[in-house]
Subunit: 303 residues, 2 copies
DNA sequence: ACCGCTTACGAAAATCGTAACTATG
DNA sequence: CATAGTTACGATTTTCGTAAGCGGT
């Protein structure tokens, strides 16, 4: 019996899937499967009921997962021994929206590195609904994403409000730089794909304005959308502070609309049942580091 | 960090020596040393102060040993999962005097195997003082040995009283089969070596009788002493019930002495600070199985 | 010089990933 | 037929013991 086996088993139960657990532990499903098989052999009893499609823990498995949990907590305690007081160790898997990643993520990681030198961080960038789902499943420890989200069992805390504006390339600007229903119907709209929190907000805005739009272009990458907008391929709603440099350089034109595109609240998402101090500490650091309006030092992806 | 490393480290601290810990874990000192070095690397701090001759645990080492202890308890808990309720698992290292080993040890191991099929037992046969020292050091979980012993920090519980008699070969029997001071001075005495509990008792008996004997023959093996006695090489004090078959066959002659050689109390020895349920359970089994007077089933080494 | 621990090194074993396989819904 | 997990197998890595090295008493 090894700690690796117990760790694999613990996550397999916690995440309810061998494949996802393997992903969480940076290994292949095959290896994880074998580790669990070894553990079952050494315990002498099957730990999973494999009759169905999903592997469900047996009674013995449920007893073991309690012990494995204690065991893994002790390993955390051990790795904290070599660290300054109150410092976290281990690995933190978290999610971030692209805007987060491109603005204050470096600042946040600097904070984390300074306070918790023993902590390994693995940021994962994706769209809000993906992040939310992965947090709900336990694949991510927490995430920062726009919108309150919909999943249950998730605790949310607002991090910051981000202003958005409608933009397009100056060459294709509508009359008076004003967005009307006609404009929205006549020009393609470039949005993120449906899994994005912004797109979710956009749909709400459309409903609010009795608008029935057909996106002409949907992309899962914010920087790409900015590029497409600059190229004059359509309208898009973009974070104001983040894209201001492009406006200043005359590459983008902010437009007026009535009502304006609503500001978006970005949230810190974590599982309600996750009481680890890691989560509490990270929430604090996020609060301190979060600033969507400033570039990180001299670096800005758009400058 | 692995469980093996933690186990090695735990025993190295507990036994105060790498070499002894390695022996306890059935591996070489070299491997144990490397395991501990790996553990130190993964913790990031030295766990032992190696400046002196003995490796003393550092402060970090002392913190870790607490956690390692909890961890190993949890592994015990896990291995009990696959076992019937109240059943012990793991390995039990214990000591037994030769007489114990040759009489009721098989019976005891039968009991252990029936009640605790998951327990690995490693009996170690040696003389009383050796057993006592190894119990005191923690190398053995417990031991069954004659005499109360002298070491401190050891809990003792009487198991059984064993009757002894003086014997010799019929051919060399003294007048009236009686042991007198003259006889003791004129005939060689065959005893176990000084580390035996019986020899310790013999010395006490000599002091009691104002006797100044010089052993002619001292051997560390009971069966050998019996053989030497039968060969007529001298007197010896032997366990009565155990050697009765030889008396019945006319190979040995019991002698009278005044005072008689005192009966010996055999004790269950364990460390006072060892509160494991293993010890309590083994003490019970020993009490039940202990019977120095009966052969094991059809088998008797002297029949 | 001995004792206690470490280092060097080669043989043996465990681990891991790719890919093929099996079973379930 | 797509998904979830297992098995086969070869390459790499790890582990372990023998034997030599090293420092302290």
């Amino acid at each position: 019996m090894t700690l690796k086996q117990l760790e694999a088993f613990y996550w397999a139960v916690k995440l309810g899937s061998f494949a996802i657990a393997a992903q969480r532990l940076n290994m292949t499903q095959s290896s994880l499967s074998k580790r669990i098989a070894e553990l079952e052999y050494s315990v002498g009893k099957p730990l999973f009921d494999r009759s169905g499609k999903k592997a469900l823990p047996t009674e013995a498995g449920l007893s073991l997962v309690e012990i494995a949990n204690k065991m893994l907590q002790l390993t955390d305690e051990i790795s904290s021994l070599g660290q300054p007081e109150g410092s976290l160790t281990g690995t933190c898997n978290f999610g971030a929206s692209e805007l987060t990643a491109l603005t204050w993520l470096p600042s946040m990681l600097e904070h984390v590195g300074a306070r918790h030198p023993g902590l390994v961080v693995e940021p994962y960038v994706d769209l809000a609904t993906v992040l939310e789902r992965r947090v709900a499943r336990g694949e991510l420890d927490f995430a920062i994403a726009p919108g309150p989200g919909v999943a249950s069992g998730i605790s949310r805390k607002k991090v910051q409000t981000v202003e958005f504006w409608w933009t397009c390339a100056p060459a294709v600007a509508p009359a008076d730089n004003l967005i009307t229903l006609d404009v929205l119907r006549s020009m393609p709209i470039i949005t993120m794909t449906g899994e994005s929190g912004l797109t979710r907000a956009f749909h709400a805005w459309c409903v609010l304005n009795n608008l029935n739009v057909r996106h002409k272009i949907a992309c899962n990458n914010l920087m790409t959308i900015i590029g497409l907008t600059i190229a004059g391929l359509g309208l898009s709603y973009l974070p104001a502070a983040f894209t201001k440099p492009l406006v200043d350089r005359g590459l983008l034109l902010p437009l007026n609309s009535d009502p304006p595109f609503p500001a978006q609240d970005y949230h810190f998402l974590a599982r309600e049942d996750d009481r680890r101090s890691l989560i509490a500490e990270m929430r604090i650091i996020v609060q301190e580091a979060a600033d969507f309006s400033k570039p990180y030092g001299q670096w800005h992806p758009l400058m």
